[in-house]
């Protein structure tokens, strides 16, 4: 129960003033600029854009600065800002097959057309602290080679040729939008994907990991992981045709999953899909694994009761803003609530003591 409480204004103002000072930290240390955050903490910026569900690197950098690096707080700021924006419309679905790839790897085929392109990855680093970074210094330019001219088709298209992988039915039906209507269960796949792509990375990582450890095991191979930029096109009503309104960075992960067949489907490979704003590789892989686990019903698999198969559980708890809002509200004043609890427990205690005393007397 909430009650209007007066008082505390001075304390709140002073707390916020101190917060501002703590945010700045030691003033003998140079202040961070938004450009520094955007350029040098890019993966934090990407996470805030993905889970804030708004692609705008400058705003995400501002949110990170304002939140003192608390990324969930930053995501909260972006989500709040997002609600103030008028909606101009929606884009054409982005063509990830035409992505200008910085990175593209496949764990299933060594010799894929387009090749294995590592990109700026942490993989194969030794995970030893690099003390050179503690000192400022110039960096040698990264080596270059002649840009690849060949197309980079999706890896799953090769398996489709052999008819050994499940197809994703093409359609242009308008998808449901969780920012416009509440999620109802059972949820369709578009709703699930929209919820997962802005879901908490840590939560999805844990859920995906649980499927790997045997809770709704579906043995995923990373058929393909690609990171790069795609053009965003939107229909402009006043023009009567579509123009490119921007370019965004995306990470796409397609898993290829072993599938022995079910009552309704022949043995084949099935697919899980992850698509996330920015270079967000861990999140995209986790999303694909969780997406696949949630597909048990449409693939005619058994529900083995694993958490990752339970769409109501996954979709209702993966949003870190909903979660933190409910979690953190319990630290706010509940004085009246607690007073009534206190009265209740005192009354029960009195009754218990009275009956014990009566039993002793009898």
């Amino acid at each position: 129960m909430y009650v209007a409480v007066k008082g505390g204004e001075r304390a709140i103002d002073n707390a916020h003033a101190w917060l501002a000072e703590e945010r700045r930290g030691d003033t003998s240390v140079a202040e961070l600029s938004l450009a520094q955050i955007r350029e040098q903490l890019k993966l934090a910026v990407n996470r805030v854009m993905a889970e804030g569900s708004l692609f705008d690197p400058d705003l995400a950098a501002l949110a990170i600065k304002q939140s003192r690096g608390d990324l969930i707080e930053a995501i909260f700021l972006i989500r709040a800002y997002r609600t103030t924006l008028p909606r101009f419309g929606h884009s054409h679905p982005v063509e990830t097959a035409d992505m200008a790839c910085d990175r593209r790897v496949s764990a299933t085929f060594k010799d894929v057309p387009g090749g294995q392109v590592l990109g700026p990855t942490f993989d194969y680093t030794h995970r030893l602290l690099d003390f050179k970074l503690a000192a400022e210094g110039d960096l040698p330019e990264a080596p270059t080679a002649a840009p690849r001219q060949e197309p980079t088709p999706h890896v799953t298209s090769f398996l489709r040729g052999e008819d050994i992988i499940q197809t994703e039915p093409h359609s242009d039906a308008a998808p449901k939008d969780i920012t416009r209507e509440p999620v109802a269960f059972p949820a369709d796949r578009a709703t699930r994907l929209q919820t997962l792509t802005r879901g908490d990375e840590g939560f999805l990582l844990g859920m995906a990991y649980s499927t790997q450890r045997g809770y709704a095991r579906n043995h995923a191979f990373v058929g393909e992981l690609r990171i790069g930029t795609v053009a965003v096109e939107m229909e402009i009503p006043e023009l009567g045709f579509a123009i490119e309104i921007g370019e965004i960075e995306l990470t796409e992960c397609e898993t290829v999953n072993q599938f022995k067949g079910s009552k309704t489907e022949p043995p084949q490979f099935t697919r899980g899909y992850g698509l996330v704003f920015g270079q967000t590789e861990r999140k995209a892989i986790a999303m694909a694994l969780v997406d696949r686990a949630l597909r048990w019903r449409e693939l005619g698999e058994d529900n083995v009761g694993a958490a990752a198969q339970d769409e109501e559980f996954v979709l209702s708890h993966c949003d870190n803003i909903q979660a933190t809002g409910f979690l953190e509200h319990i630290k706010l004043p509940h004085y009246v609530d607690f007073q009534s609890e206190l009265e209740l427990v005192r009354k029960l205690r009195r009754e218990a003591e009275t009956s014990t005393a009566q039993e002793a007397a009898e």
């Binding site: 569900s53 708004l54 692609f55 705008d56 400058d58 997002r82 924006l85 008028p86 909606r87 101009f88 419309g89 929606h90 884009s91 679905p93 982005v94 990830t96 200008a100 790839c101 910085d102 990175r103 010799d111 090749g115 294995q116 392109v117 080596p143 270059t144 080679a145 002649a146 999706h154 197809t167 994703e168 039915p169 093409h170 039906a173 308008a174 998808p175 449901k176 939008d177 969780i178 796949r189 578009a190 994907l193 929209q194 053009a231 965003v232 939107m234 402009i236 006043e238 023009l239 009567g240 045709f241 579509a242 123009i243 490119e244 309104i245 921007g246 796409e252 397609e254 899909y273 698509l275």
Partner: protein, 151 residues
């Protein structure tokens, strides 16, 4: 004077203007000889566009998340209407994009093409090529170890 413009050409320049780097339009606009005054038909406003993806890259659409876009519409002195749609929240950039869109429909087109679009196109290609060149250098060249039984 508005000339007959193919949607294809207009789409090309509007896309180029939409993705110009912050501050670039300002600098290039400075280099034009005559720039017209304008009246607003729709003042610059920032909003969100819901970006969609496709399930599995090829299947049914789903909503991925929004991006910020700023748009405006104006009419330059000779009556030509220009639309500006740019990524991000810069009202100035939307204004310049709209004005250039209008100018590209008039006799000023060759000058705008030469002094604004050509450099933008070149820079965009250079930006893409630079990343593609770095990516290409990280492409794996596999070689197979010769095994014992093969001699």
């Amino acid at each position: 004077m508005t000339q007959e413009i193919s949607p294809h050409r207009r789409k090309g320049w509007m896309s180029l203007l939409a993705t110009a780097e912050e501050g670039r339009l300002d600098a290039l606009f400075e280099g034009l000889d005559d720039t017209p005054t304008h009246d607003w038909l729709r003042v610059p406003e920032t909003g969100g566009v819901m970006v969609r993806g496709r399930t599995g890259g090829t299947g049914a659409p789903f909503n991925l998340g929004e991006m910020t876009v700023t748009r405006c519409t104006l009419k330059i002195a000779d009556g030509t209407v220009g639309h500006g749609y740019v990524q991000g929240r810069s009202k100035r950039q939307a204004e310049l994009a709209a004005k250039l869109d209008a100018m590209l429909q008039t006799a000023a087109a060759p000058q705008v093409e030469e002094r604004v679009l050509a450099p933008l196109r070149k820079e965009r290609t250079a930006r893409k090529d630079a990343r593609a060149a770095k990516a290409a250098a990280t492409k794996v060249d596999f070689f197979t170890m010769v095994r014992g039984e093969d001699g």
